[in-house]
Symmetry: C2
Subunit: 228 residues, 2 copies
Amino acid sequence: MNDNSPLPTASAPGRKPTISREDIVAAALKLVGPHRSVSTLSLREVAREAGIAPNSFYRHFRDMDELAVALIDLAGQSLRRLIGEARRRANHDRSVVRSSVEAFMEQLRADDGLLHLLLREGTVGSDAFKRAVDRQLNFFEEELRQDLIYLADINRTGLFEPALTAKAITRLVFALGATAMELSAEKQHELTEQLVLMVRMIVTGTQTMAITGTPDSETRDNRRLELL
Amino acid sequence: MNDNSPLPTASAPGRKPTISREDIVAAALKLVGPHRSVSTLSLREVAREAGIAPNSFYRHFRDMDELAVALIDLAGQSLRRLIGEARRRANHDRSVVRSSVEAFMEQLRADDGLLHLLLREGTVGSDAFKRAVDRQLNFFEEELRQDLIYLADINRTGLFEPALTAKAITRLVFALGATAMELSAEKQHELTEQLVLMVRMIVTGTQTMAITGTPDSETRDNRRLELL
DNA sequence: CACTTGTCTATACAGTTGTCTATTAATACT
DNA sequence: AGTATTAATAGACAACTGTATAGACAAGTG
């Protein structure tokens, strides 16, 4: 799907590249910390960090936006790894919700800068940037959706609008995860506990609504759901 | 609480200001659209828009961060107005959830640029900026919490962890609202419907959990909540 | 009136940014 | 060998940034 690098099979004439896209990406990653956003990165700054002339940047990326998208895709891989990890831990000793949320927060603390991108910069930056983030989030949502269906099945519990449920959980966890980046360890732990309960609310809600059903325009007399 | 403007009572000697903080704020607001973020605004650009010399900016704000905080506070007022509006509409013909979400989305479309700030730039920018956004969000959460308690009371329905519920709803609505800014009208409508259902999930969840209770470390054998 | 005080502007400076135009260096093919 | 092709660089350009300095203007006070 990603044919960014030229085919290495046919040895093209000309000078061998002394630096690769990955090197530039690595340099950019060293610059974006929890306090720097990609949008504040300048081309020259990245080139400086990578130890190349500013103009050499253009050999590998059209502009900074393209670099940003590459970073996002990289963060997406990290995210995919995270999902696998959470899934692996799930059916063991703890609840799925708890272990997933904890895996998420842990990964957030671990690979400094990578996952942060998806959380922080989804709302800012160029359109290409935003679309890239949204794409990664959709991957996440889709995997979560399948997990939810699977779990609801083996638990013999209902599931109201799996896609919507997955989206709600994803966006909530990501939104709150973004605020957690620069929190103290205790505060992070506290936030994790809050997130676990919040996700449980959504899950409980989706299960309950699968039973009671939603009040559509016809059944307006369902007073409880009507008011709240 | 906000004593930014000097006391107008004592007529200070010196030249009368030809421009006010509000004028600069207005100029900045004209610049930040759905595609511009405050962090990309430059001091000179704002001064240019306001029709003053770059240095005159310093008479009113220490730096751009201070302007940004002023913008956030302004957006907070808009938000407070929004809450009142939603509350006023609530006990009428539609459900609280639906009318609130719709009021939110409507306001989002209406006061171009103001509310966007809170949604978009909460994750980016200086620390002062982030703290200002967080403060406004906390106001919102607190009001929502009280509303939830009130509604749960008159509906004779339980409410599990009101503060947490309010936080979950707030963050979810804001996170998804942020993505809605540059969507087509149909897509916005679709998102509104999704949000209504998502919030209903949370509300239903919090009500159900108030009855069944949460599984703490002692009651690990509650299999349904354990797995999901 | 002179005098002080605060507001605003003009000018300038050093720094940074993105990008253009050569020019050099290194590899592969003939 | 020579040559073509590509990578990387150096240097320069115009535009822009934040800010320092100094001076001009207007209002209030004595």
